[in-house]
């Protein structure tokens, strides 16, 4: 019986090549898209779930009230780790994690590598296995270092790395005491090496006991059997009991929720990436459903051809169930063929998809469970797409179909029409969403950023740059490379520091107000192209007292309530800071948010970055070459690495750009699959009505009137889809835009464009077949009876 089914299926597929192609292409594209999305989803939900101790692994979180709202955040004071280990017997292990950026020197090889400072427990808490070395002891001594396999390869090539010595930042020599298996593609950690916390303390002149400086991540494992809620109560007051800070609560965030549930509102978990995961899963499901709908529509549209076969089979003894089995078998066979094509599509598009989503996904061909999932996925698709046609086709009554007068029912709301409306509704929702995402992106990109980002470059302060800064600055200007140079605490595109430790005359002392903090040694407004609204720039040469002066931005002036800000005194700790000027608001962080209050401190502070404005009298290449020579001269050990601010700024739109590209990709695929199905349906419609068309032509109908008659039915469905899609799309995009303070309004035009596009595409799809049918010679079609 099975062989017989397979045979007739195969012959059917070969006989109707164009429909087989449409079916397989549609299903394959649908399956491939769904598979790619599910790959992504799988990767997201598996983030950091491979740690053996994940059920008792936690990150410490702070919680406090700002501006009347309860905020939660995951950076913690450095002394928390030793306090947890000493005073909390429930805690088994604890570690700090903080970024490290060092120049590695090995012979004449110099490499800038990114790593993490951690406590020794790190290696036994997380399941990042060492291929060489002992996790229990590898970080026990200050001059030990654990490197990943990739780093080992970078530094030592194929030579043995274990036990070798590496020089770090021209000062210290480290011994490699562990080689770590490369990090998997589903962890939030991203380091090339880890070095002991004790080295951080050495660099910074001893342990940092400041409970007010939230600058590292703290992770712990609890002993077996300790409950999270109980421990939360016990650890809540850790900051209060170790310092005079009275307004911070501490709690733990479990490893199982790090990736997907990292958004807090009023102290409670309020989702996070899980929302994107859900949205993408729904989209994957819909794309697959749309592909399956094509199959359903084409199969049932062809039912008149299959009806006779069904009738005969029933007459000679086939039961309904065996016919259902036969038709399901057919759809599964098509799903298998489509699945093979889909695997090829996925394999070919993974590199592009990885770039787009910033991931390292791959198909694990060697894994049994992978193939199990592939087979289940194919079976599922086959059953989903075959179910309705199987029920529909197997229910034909032989008495009716064998008479030769059989016509499939033409009811006013046929399931087929509902299915087409479903497809196009989804496609139109995606088109509208794509347009709105793009509009929002354009809107934010056109926002006035408040400074001049062209020709603005920065480089990190490393090695001898700090020591030789004045020389470097003078030479950059005297050689004509730069028109202005400014030393700052962070790149102008990033906020690295914020503080609520400021007070000023008239401040409500019970209220905590947080400011972005930026430091500069001078020439700040000149270098960045900022506008001074009141007062003047910081200038320690002309005004020696400016080492303790500050600038405010407009937002800060407003929040502090100064009528006449210049000359006001703002207190931070023991320092009295004098306001000497006000700068126009500029975008430091998100281009979608209002500019936050900001305090720009003078030279008596810390610096990480040198910004310089390139002289536009030279070409950029000339400038960079000269600049490199200057930096090499004063900082010979380090490679000259620079970043253009305009490129950095563009990166702020990466997420939205990615959303835009993904949305348009999904919209394009959905429209493609839907139109493929529409094309198939139109073909059958034209075939079924060939006699009617013949009669109409004989009676004098024009080609145009026949074409429009044939197209009209389909356009009606598209119109209904549009009506269904509009409120869904509006609601969805309205909610999406709520996430942005600086956002576009949804206009009628968006819907008009989507309607126009969809109508155009469906007219092109349908009219091809309609015109072909209308142009056919009626003599032929009428004779064929």
């Amino acid at each position: 019986m099975f062989k017989n089914y397979l045979k007739i299926t195969w012959r059917n597929l070969l006989k109707n090549k164009s429909f087989t192609a449409i079916n397989i292409a549609g299903l394959a594209v649908g399956m491939a898209s769904a598979a790619l999305i599910l790959f992504w989803v799988q990767n997201e939900i598996s983030y950091d779930q491979f740690h053996e101790k994940k059920d008792r692994l936690y990150q410490m979180y702070n919680q406090s009230v700002f501006d009347g709202k309860l905020w939660s955040w995951g950076t913690t004071p450095k002394p928390m780790t030793p306090a947890l280990k000493q005073n909390y017997p429930q805690v088994e292990e604890a570690t700090r994690v903080s970024g490290a950026d060092f120049l590695f020197t090995l012979g004449d090889k110099h490499l800038n590598l990114r790593g993490d400072f951690t406590d020794p427990d790190f290696l036994t808490m997380f399941s990042f296995p060492l291929v060489k070395g002992d996790a229990k002891t590898a970080l026990n001594s200050m001059k030990n270092i654990v490197i990943t396999q990739k780093t080992a390869k970078k530094l030592f090539g194929n030579d043995e790395a274990m036990g070798k010595t590496i020089r770090i930042d021209s000062v210290d020599y480290f011994t490699v005491t562990g080689i770590m298996k490369d990090l998997p593609n589903n962890t939030q950690f991203d380091f090339e090496y880890i070095i002991p916390w004790s080295y951080w303390e050495k660099l910074n002149g001893g342990p940092d006991n400041n409970w007010g400086n939230n600058s590292v991540q703290t992770y712990i494992t609890l002993k077996k059997g300790v409950s999270e809620s109980k421990f939360d109560k016990q650890v809540k007051n850790i900051t209060r009991s170790h310092s005079d800070i009275k307004d911070i609560d501490v709690f733990v965030h479990p490893a199982t929720k790090w990736r997907l549930y990292s958004k807090f509102e009023n102290g409670k978990i309020a989702g996070g990436r899980i929302e994107t995961i859900k949205l993408f899963s729904i989209i994957a499901g819909f794309i697959l459903l749309i592909a399956c709908i094509n199959f359903m529509n084409l199969s049932t549209a062809r039912s008149e051809k299959r009806a006779k076969e069904v009738g005969i089979r029933k007459v000679v003894g086939a039961g309904k169930s065996s016919l259902i089995a036969q038709f399901l078998g057919e759809s599964i066979l098509i799903a298998i063929l489509a699945g093979i094509v889909a695997l090829i599509i996925v394999q070919l598009s993974l590199p592009g998809f990885n770039t787009l989503t910033d991931k390292h996904l791959f198909m694990p061909f060697g894994s049994f469970s992978f193939w199990l999932i592939v087979v289940s996925f194919i079976l599922f698709t086959g059953l989903l797409s075959g179910s309705y046609p199987a029920l529909y086709l197997s229910s034909f009554l032989p008495v009716k179909v064998l008479k030769g007068t059989f016509k499939a029912a033409h009811t006013s709301i046929s399931p087929r029409k509902v299915l087409v409306v479903t497809q196009f509704t989804f496609a139109i929702v995606l088109i509208i969403s794509t347009i709105i995402v793009k509009e929002q992106l354009d809107y934010a990109q056109q926002r006035d950023i408040g400074y001049k980002k062209d020709n603005l470059v920065y480089t990190m302060i490393v090695g001898d740059i700090e020591k030789n800064y004045s020389l470097i600055r003078n030479e950059l200007i005297s050689s004509g490379v730069a028109t202005a140079v400014s030393k700052t605490s962070a790149p102008i595109t990033q906020g690295w520091s914020d503080s609520w430790d400021f007070s000023w005359p008239g401040k409500n002392q019970n209220e905590k107000i947080d400011f972005n903090v930026f430091n500069t040694d001078g020439s700040f407004t000149q270098t960045m192209g900022l506008k001074i609204i009141k007062g003047r720039d910081l200038d320690v040469k002309t005004y020696p007292t400016d080492s303790l002066a500050i600038l405010l931005n407009e937002a800060a002036v407003k929040i502090m309530g100064f009528k006449d800000p210049v000359g006001q005194i703002v207190t931070r700790g023991d320092n009295k800071l004098k306001v000497v000027g006000v700068v126009k608001d500029f975008i430091l962080q998100s281009p979608y948010e209002p500019v936050k209050a900001m305090i720009i401190q003078g030279p008596k502070s810390w610096f990480n970055v040198v910004h310089f404005k390139l002289n536009n009298k030279n070409t950029t290449a000339q400038n960079l070459k000269l600049a490199e020579a200057v930096f090499k001269k004063y900082n010979p050990e380090y490679p000259f690495e620079y970043h253009f601010i305009d490129e950095e700024y563009a990166r702020k739109f990466q997420d939205e750009q990615r959303t835009g590209v993904l949305a348009s990709l999904f919209a394009g695929l959905t429209i493609f699959i839907s139109c493929l199905g529409l094309f198939g349906l139109a073909t059958y419609m034209a075939q079924n009505r060939i006699k009617e068309i013949g009669v109409r032509k004989v009676l004098g109908a024009s080609v145009l009137s026949i074409t429009s008659m044939l197209s009209k039915d389909f356009l009606k469905l598209v119109a209904i889809s549009f009506i269904v899609a509009t409120p869904i799309a509006w609601y969805g995009m309205h909610s999406w835009l709520q996430g942005y303070s600086y956002r576009v309004n949804i206009t009628v035009w968006v819907f008009a464009i989507a309607a126009f596009l969809t109508t155009l595409l469906s007219i092109v799809t349908v009219s091809f077949q309609a015109i072909k049918a209308a142009l056919a010679n009626p003599v032929k079609s009428l004779r064929s009876e």
Binding site: M1, N4, I8, R11, I312, R313, V315, G319, L397, L402
Partner: protein, 225 residues
């Protein structure tokens, strides 16, 4: 073998109700060859469909081999049908995508006959119908007469007790038509009961008895000599 009593069948559309069978009663004994005649729309095909268990009556009784089946559900009817009844149609009704061999094999597949047994029985019957040389051809490659012989081969391959033929010669020329009638007569002589609907007096003469229908009722019965 067959006894129907007061059988009624109506067809309803939104406005009109048509009576296809009107309290029809008749009996067919095992081994008989019965022809059913009558003008278009007299209910011949409806009767044949009910006898063949493809359709169920609205009223009345249908006893097949001593079992009342008028109210059997589709599944029970299908089960009884596939073991007892073979069909021959005017338009042959072969499956275009299957070869001659595969078409004839189909009933055996649904009654669960083993593969080797199927080959034996299909070859036997193809041989008997003299179309063995065409076993690997598709229906479109055959003449009408050959197609009908394939259809008859398919109807008899399961050795049914009853063959229902709906104008079996209607699409054939007279020489092919006569061949088909000879085949049916042979089968009848070997013990198969045959009920045939026909328009042709010529064909009807092959039968033992002619039942004439008009407006869903029996109007006359001729016993052939």
């Amino acid at each position: 073998m067959i006894k129907i009593t007061n059988l009624e069948k109506f067809y309803r559309t939104e406005e009109v109700e048509t009576i296809a069978l009107n309290k029809l009663s008749m009996e067919v004994n095992t081994g008989e060859f019965v022809a059913i005649m009558g003008p278009s729309g007299c209910g011949k095909s409806t009767l044949l469909n009910i006898l063949g268990m493809l359709d169920d009556p609205d009223e009345g009784s249908y006893v097949f081999n001593g079992v009342e089946i008028a109210h059997f559900n589709e599944r029970k009817r299908a089960d009884l049908r596939k073991h007892n009844i073979g069909f021959v149609f005017q338009s042959f009704n072969l499956i275009d995508e299957l070869t001659v061999f595969e078409n004839v094999e189909l009933p055996l597949i649904y009654t669960g006959v083993s593969s080797s047994e199927r080959v034996k029985r299909v070859e036997e019957v193809l041989d008997k119908m003299q179309i063995m040389h065409r076993r690997n051809h598709y229906p479109q490659q055959l003449s009408g007469g050959q197609q009908q012989r394939v259809a008859i081969a398919r109807a008899v391959v399961n050795k049914p007790k009853l063959i229902l033929a709906d104008e079996p010669t209607g699409n054939l020329d007279s020489s092919n038509g006569n061949d088909v009638m000879e085949l049916l007569t042979d089968l009848n002589e070997q013990g198969t009961t045959i009920i045939m609907v026909t328009h042709s007096e010529h064909d009807a003469r092959y039968s033992h008895r002619i039942i004439r229908l008009l407006d869903g009722q029996t109007v006359m019965e001729n016993i052939m000599v």
